[in-house]
């Protein structure tokens, strides 16, 4: 199986689309295929989980989706725009405006308050501070932690920090959230609260891609995609195939 398309290609609503994406590290003799012919779409309102063993290509997929890495072949589109053709400033601008990341270790800037952390991508994008702060407060309200606006990260619990990180990922016009094991550093109850917030934001119109190795967490998604050796081997959204498991006997 070289490629597996889990979504129709005619869908214009897709916030994120990967078309037959391959990523090869190294050259010729030492080339390693991290991702091979992966096609995937995440629509507005949809949360898609990616599962797979270590080294299956989950992180590569997320990095490509967020424009942190470039595909060797195939294309990645964010809100219809192919990011492979963008360079330097243009790519950075698209990332600031359209894509948010949520990491296992929250990645908030310790010297900034919650509202300053959330407003940062808007301010870096040239928005007036007052407007950026207003939109940051809106984003904090969406994830239910508006009362933490003036608090610094070291005065927040892990679950609160991760909610702030989700607010930052979806501040302003950002509609694509890429989450890499967002519950990895949280206890089970807190982790579930964070997944609920992520689910709610997707239900409200965001598009989410969630990398996780926990089936219990992946189950919050609308679709679960399995990667192995850089290839999509199955998806809970695809039609079941009924191929014979037994080879014909001689």
């Amino acid at each position: 199986m070289s490629s597996s398309d889990t979504t129709p290609r005619t869908d214009h609503e897709a916030i994120l689309r990967l078309d037959n994406v391959t990523r090869v590290h190294g050259t010729d003799g030492t080339a390693v295929r991290a991702l091979a012919g992966v096609s995937l779409a995440v629509r507005a309102g949809e949360l898609v989980a990616v599962m797979g063993p270590s080294g299956s290509g989950k992180s590569t997929l997320l990095n490509l989706a967020g424009g942190l890495d470039a595909a060797t072949s195939g294309q990645v589109l964010i809100e219809g725009q192919s990011i492979g053709t963008l360079k330097g400033d243009a790519l950075a601008r698209l990332r600031r405006r359209r894509v948010g990341f949520v990491f296992q270790d929250f990645n908030l800037i310790p010297s900034l308050t919650a509202v300053e952390n959330v407003a940062l991508p808007l301010e870096l994008d040239g928005q007036r501070v007052s407007r950026a702060r207003r939109r940051a407060v809106d984003a904090l309200t969406m994830v239910g932690v508006q009362e933490l606006a003036d608090r610094y990260p070291d005065k927040m619990s892990g679950g609160q920090q991760q909610r702030v990180a989700i607010a930052r990922a979806l501040v302003g016009d950002r509609r694509l959230v890429l989450a890499d094991e967002p519950t990895g550093a949280l206890d089970s109850h807190t982790g579930e609260g964070v997944l609920r917030v992520l689910r709610e934001r997707c239900d409200a119109g965001a598009a989410g891609l969630l990398v996780t190795h926990e089936a219990r967490h992946a189950a919050w998604a609308d679709r679960v995609v399995f990667l192995r050796d850089g290839v999509v081997v199955d998806s809970t959204g695809s039609a079941e195939t009924a191929e014979a498991l037994l080879e014909p006997t001689a």
């Binding site: 599962m51 063993p53 089936a215 219990r216 992946a218 189950a219 679960v224 081997v233 498991l245």
Partner: protein, 219 residues
């Protein structure tokens, strides 16, 4: 599941008649293990015979209510403090299927694992949606309803953890099959005529797994 213990525990809250016991049991376990009303009446008859419950009369519609006797109360108290024993291992079709798949020639075991994992994940997605709904309902509920929601949430979470354990086990099976395929093998003729014993006790523990590496070899 012991229907007997379940009915006794419900009767510890207040006297009830058969149909009431059935609906209370199902409300608290989310209908996951439905009881038929015949089963309830048969069990009540047996409990009455054994002196654990007694009838306290009929209502206008002819329904007989039961309450616990002193012996019944003692039985319930004993049940709460006794561990549930799992003396028999229930027959699990998936475990049997995989045990057979690794020993029957020509089966694509990875495919069996992947198909099951996808199906289990879909089941987990359904359970998670139910749980989301139940959680929302629970948070909005009045005190009385809240307890029944809590019981249903606990049942759902048990099913979710069981599904997760199944996926983890399937991941483990897959990883083990890969390790087995890459494991260096000893020449089959190294110790002809001797029994398959080894000085390394750990080797003995995995002797049962060697079927995956001896696919097609004469036994």
């Amino acid at each position: 599941m012991s229907v007997k213990q379940g009915l006794l525990a419900l009767l510890a809250t207040e006297p009830m008649y058969g149909a009431q016991l059935r609906s209370e049991f199902e409300a608290r376990t989310g209908g996951t293990w439905p009881l038929n009303v015949g089963q309830v009446y048969t069990t009540l008859a047996r409990l009455e015979r054994d002196g654990l419950v007694e009838a306290i009369g009929e209502d206008a519609e002819g329904r007989i209510s039961y309450r616990l006797t002193r012996a019944g109360q003692a039985e319930v108290a004993r049940w709460w403090v006794s561990p549930v024993t799992r003396e028999t291992t229930p027959r699990d079709e998936l475990v049997i299927k995989l045990a057979l798949a690794v020993t029957v020639e020509g089966v694509d075991v990875h495919r069996v694992v992947q198909t099951q994992r996808t199906a289990t994940l879909r089941h987990l997605q359904d359970l998670t949606r139910l749980k989301q709904r139940a959680t929302t309902h629970h948070e909005a509920a009045e005190d009385g309803d809240g307890q029944v929601d809590l019981a249903w949430l606990l049942v759902l979470e048990n099913l979710i953890y069981a599904g997760e354990a199944e996926v983890r086990w399937l991941d483990h099976v897959e990883a083990r099959l890969v390790r087995e395929a890459n494991r260096p093998r000893r020449p089959a003729s190294a110790t002809p005529g001797t029994t398959a014993t080894t000085t390394d006790p750990a080797m003995g523990a995995i002797a049962g797994d060697q079927s995956t590496t001896t696919k097609g070899a004469p036994r």
